[in-house]
């Protein structure tokens, strides 16, 4: 990351069409060019390489099919360690892709064949299993029905209306006059099945059914289904035919069972024998299929990566243009200027590798188009840059606040989070993430969440881990800075650290204990004595409040100074005088003065002068309300009234300065242009452009108003400038007050944090220390656990988050609004690594 975004160049590459694919894929590996779509008017499916993409889509479908097959048998696909630059996943030549395609089709057809034969076998097996159950259950029914009078198992007589009917049926069964149908039906359909049968046959049937104990797996859907065996007795051919028809339409499977017991038993044995044979065959085919799939599982991941890359390559090539005789492809795109040589090197590599006679040619184009913004980041700066980018992508080459955010962000955070102990914990956690970053990057957050937090539900579902891991360096700095501010505040878990001894002695004065100053000052931060004093809060509040204002004014003035660099960069040096200077003067003359008197008040020993210190708040209020006069009590130094009137006058002068000078400059610029005839360019060119197309209504619409409003447009534009400037000025004046006040959040948050941690200590842990020494250890064990948990979750996690958000706000609103335009668009290079990581998140 640098002060400004990378310098970009528009480049044009002529690629001979025979090596176009290799070149594009090489550039994809490099990932340094953002290609511009040269055929935006062409429909997605009319582009040059749609055929190839469709072919790759088909291959992807095959891969998905193989993947689902592999997952179905419970195998794991071997993952690739580093998918971006592994040699396995580099698509080399068209031939290899062709080979891959045929390989994929071969595997697919092989698997399809295996599956279909498997399915037939499964179906056969399924039928035989059902038959086995049918024979077993039906034997029970039939043997029962042959013994009239034995009603022990007959629960299903509800279908028949009276016992008389039962007797009748039994007679008929034993008489052998009754036809029977046996079959299997899904248990869920049983009720409807029975009802319909009853309705159709008007109760002229006897039906018995039994549940099959184990689930049967349907070979088509591969879902286990609960099924019932049923036996229906009815008489008359027609009724039987009707029943059969209903059975079929309800999805029941019918099996014939011999009414003679002896034959049934034989058939049963035969079925069992067949089942065993079939089982063997099925096992064999399964293992063959598994072996085949294992082969595929080894390389499937790399194939899928190759195809994803290929697809990205062709999508990119669809953005290229053909030259006139279709011998070469023309690519245009943005790249960082300092990467041109790398790109050229890559192009040479391709030429050598492919033995092409014509090398690709790279030209740098001169263009007036605004290039994309590219901030080169590393793992340290990426998090900070992301904070800035979330607010708005920097305009090309403007000052990048990300650079300063690296330090100012954790610092402002620490001002609010200042606690030595909490800082230490945060630092330790961040340091662990930084040290272990390589291991952690591979892991999924779920596992890590278990290790860090003994409450994994906390991390359930939301991706907080990825966020923390991404910002590990930021957290590290935040922790380190918090240790520092904790030291300054002399605050560790709300206790003090009298490292260098106190700077005061206790003196008993009547019924009070008063601190008496020793000869030396406490060397760093706040004297620990303050922590036990009665006026601790008053002292700390005043200190932190003033510090907040000082830090705020510093950061805002710095932001305004950065604005000067922006004006220089955008070749508008006049704006420094018209905008930056009055803004800085305005801010300094009021709030800069406030900072000065704060420091002056701190530096003065008011006791030795023998007067009480004046209130700065009143000073500032009366500076505006009653300019030119200072009350005697409030006077800080001689000549204060005169200085204050001067500063106030200066501030008021700055307002018209900001308001008028910039619009005047713009107006002058415009009138200069128009005297040179520049802004008539459109009007002149319009008629020359359209003679041939004058009839085209579209063109007419566009050019006509432009020509008619030639003069009016300018006035309109100028009034816009004025309105814009008025808004801008009012906003700046008002915001300089509100923004300064906004920095008081540094004090507020810091106060809240310190108070919370003190409350926690007093309420939870402190009580134990006054307990009976015998029970104290036990109590401590319990309360420490509670105290530590609350410290981690509330004081560090939640308070940390809130301080983070406030620091974010101070950067986005208070700091960035002083200079940052944020009107750019991000540089999105064509790169395989981003293509692959995108597709990963899609999955």
């Amino acid at each position: 990351m640098a002060f400004r975004s990378e310098q970009m160049s528009m480049i044009q590459i002529y690629i001979p069409s025979e090596i176009a694919q290799q070149t594009a894929s090489e550039l994809g590996e490099l990932g340094q060019i953002e290609f511009v779509d040269l055929n935006p008017q062409i429909n997605a499916f009319q582009r040059a390489f749609v055929g190839e993409i469709r072919r790759l889509d088909e291959m992807e479908r095959k891969i998905r099919y193989l993947q689902s097959q592999i997952e179905k048998v419970g195998m794991k696909i071997r993952p690739i360690d580093s998918p971006t630059n592994s040699a396995f996943t580099r698509p080399h030549t068209q031939k290899e892709i062709d080979e891959l395609e045929s390989k994929l089709s071969m595997y697919e057809s092989k698997l399809l064949q295996m599956n279909s034969s498997q399915q037939t076998l499964d179906k056969r097996y399924f039928e035989l299993t059902e038959l086995r159950h049918v024979i077993r259950e039906a034997s029970v029914f039939l043997s029962q029905s042959n013994k009239p009078g034995d009603d022990g198992h007959r629960e299903d007589t509800a279908l028949l209306e009276s016992g008389q009917d039962v007797a009748e049926t039994d007679e008929l069964v034993s008489g052998g006059d009754l036809g029977s149908i046996t079959g299997v039906i899904a248990r869920a359909k049983m009720g409807i099945f029975e009802r319909i049968l009853f309705r159709v046959l008007r109760g002229n049937l006897y039906m018995n059914h039994a549940e099959i104990a184990d689930d049967v797996v349907d070979p088509l859907t591969e879902q286990p289904i609960k099924k019932n065996v049923f036996v229906i007795f009815a008489h008359g051919k027609e009724l039987i035919a009707k029943i059969k028809k209903i059975c079929e339409s309800m999805g029941a499977t019918l099996y014939t069972v011999d009414p003679v017991g002896e034959k049934r038993r034989e058939a049963g044995l035969e079925v069992i024998g067949k089942l065993e044979d079939l089982k063997n065959v099925i096992d064999n085919t399964l293992s063959a299929r598994k072996a085949e799939l294992a082969k595929v599982a080894e390389t499937l991941e790399s194939w899928s990566i190759i195809i994803k890359k290929e697809k990205a390559v062709y999508h990119t090539m669809n953005q290229f243009n053909f030259d006139a005789n279709r011998k070469a492809l023309i690519a245009e795109g943005w790249c960082p200027t300092n990467q041109i040589s790398t790109i050229q090197h890559a192009l040479r590599n391709v030429t050598e590798r492919t033995d092409s006679t014509i090398p690709p040619i790279l030209n740098e184009l001169r263009t007036t188009k605004i290039p994309p913004t590219y901030h080169k980041t590393n793992k340290f700066t990426a998090g900070f840059q992301a904070i800035v980018d979330a607010y708005g992508m920097a305009t090309y080459q403007e000052v990048n606040p990300g650079l300063f955010t690296c330090i100012s962000f954790p610092f402002l955070f620490a001002v609010m989070f200042g606690d030595f102990g909490h800082g230490l914990l945060v630092t330790a956690f961040a340091a662990w993430m930084v040290v272990k970053e390589k291991d952690l990057a591979k892991k999924k957050w779920g596992e890590v969440g278990l290790i860090i937090f003994y409450a994994p539900f906390f991390l359930d579902k939301f991706n907080i881990w990825d966020m923390m891991y991404g910002g590990r360096y930021m957290i590290l700095l935040m922790g380190i800075f918090s240790i520092y501010t904790g030291l300054i505040y002399n605050d560790v878990f709300s206790r003090t650290m009298p490292i260098f001894g106190r700077g005061y002695n206790w003196v008993i004065d009547g019924d009070k204990i008063v601190g008496e100053k020793k000869n030396r000052n406490y060397p760093i931060g706040i004297d620990p004595i303050w922590m036990v004093s009665e006026n601790k809060l008053m002292f700390l509040n005043s200190y932190k409040m003033k510090m907040g204002v000082i830090l705020g004014v510093m950061q805002m003035v710095f932001g305004l100074v950065l604005g000067i660099f922006n004006h220089l960069q955008f070749k508008k040096p006049m704006y420094i005088l018209a905008e930056s200077v009055p803004q800085i003067l305005f801010l300094l003359s009021i709030f800069g003065y406030l900072v000065c008197i704060i420091i002056y008040k701190w530096a003065t020993n008011w006791d030795s002068i023998g007067r009480s210190p004046p209130s700065l708040l009143n000073t500032l209020i009366y500076m505006v309300l009653a300019p030119g006069s200072v009350q005697k009590d409030d006077e800080l130094f001689t000549g204060q009234a005169g200085l204050q009137s001067f500063l106030l006058l200066l501030a008021f002068l700055c307002i018209p300065w900001m308001l008028c000078v910039k619009p005047y400059l713009e107006w002058k610029e415009m009138s200069k242009h128009s005297t040179h005839g520049y802004n008539n360019l459109e009007d002149h060119s319009a008629p020359t452009q359209i003679p041939g197309e004058a009839s085209s209504p579209h063109h007419g619409e566009v050019t006509k108003p432009a020509a008619a409003e030639g003069g009016a447009g300018e006035a309109h534009e100028f009034s816009e400038v004025i309105v814009h400037q008025i808004i801008h000025t009012i906003e700046f004046v008002l915001s300089s007050i509100s923004h300064t006040a906004s920095y008081l959040r540094l004090w507020a948050l810091s106060l809240a944090h310190a108070q919370l941690s003190e409350v926690l200590w007093d309420m939870v842990l402190a009580a134990v220390f006054t307990m009976n020494p015998n029970s104290a250890p036990l109590g401590l064990m319990f309360t420490f656990y509670m105290w530590f948990n609350l410290t981690v979750f509330i004081l560090i996690a939640m308070e940390g988050l809130s301080a983070f958000l406030h620091a974010l706000r101070l950067h986005w609103v208070e700091f960035n609004s002083k200079f940052y335009l944020g009107g750019g668009r991000p540089f999105v290079p064509f790169s395989f690594s981003s293509v692959l990581s995108d597709s990963e998140t899609d999955d």
Partner: protein, 345 residues
Amino acid sequence: MSPLTFNISHGYLEAIVRGFKSGILTSAQYLNMAQCESLDDLKLQLSSTDYGNFLQNEPSPLATTTIAEKAREKLVDEFQYLRQNASEPLSTFLDYITYGYMIDNIILLITGTLHERDTHELLERCHPLGMFDSIAALCVATNVSELYNTVMVETPLAPYFEKCLSAHDLDEMNIEIIRNTLYKAYIEDFYEFCKELGGETAEVMSELLEFEADRRVINITINSFNTELTKDDRAKLFPTCGKLYPDGIAKLAKVDEIDQVKAIVEPYGEYRRFFDTLSSDRSLEDRFFEHEVHLNKKSFLQQFHFGVFYAFLRLKEQEIRNIVWIAECIAQYQKERINDYITIF
């Protein structure tokens, strides 16, 4: 059902359905689709719409039927989602919508059985929204009363069926009569139900159902020319909740040719133009569809009513018809007729 409390129970679903509605293909997307050279192109085009990659796992070459099936599957999924999350009275309302599909399925099955088609094949062709448990048993019925006693008695359609109970055998003519009687009873019942719901729903739905009823009346009239259907029987088939009731219906029951129909419909302003230029390229059917689309779109202009659910389903059905039409034109190289779809938005 007042606007004040509507959102308590139905706000979520209304939002969902409005979301679905905004995914309906626009004319620009149809234009793009009409330019496709092959069904694979069409797949590419559709993948950038709300349909997403619904054809992703279909091996090429694609068939039109696959596209239709998948598109219908998606619609059914969406509808089932709405139905499962609906609470009273919206759930009953949505059930009412499915009765229409049930009638179609029943007729399909009976006709199929009459022609001795395979039951399973017929079941696959049934619309999934009109399925009920005992539908398969329809194939055993040979006459109307059997049909009623065996199957229909436990479906929600039973009360409609009572009106066409007769011991007639099932033949083509009778099936057609059953269909129309069922439909008449269904539309009238649905109409009554919507009226009971009151409020915006009644307002919007009565317009939609009135048109539906009138369309059926006109269609029945035109289709019954030169058939065995007597004029009395014809009159019995006319739904009586439309705008044509009672005058138009009474007159239409007596006509013999299309010109007379035209003359009778003439006084009804919105229907007049259907017959205006019958000689032009658009058929009467298409004009009806166009008007239906217009009415359905209109129902989205009001809030806090159930009409949007009905309208959404209808629009989606039209959209699927459009996609299938375009796909068929592409598949059969009939590019000159490809633009005969009905644009929705």
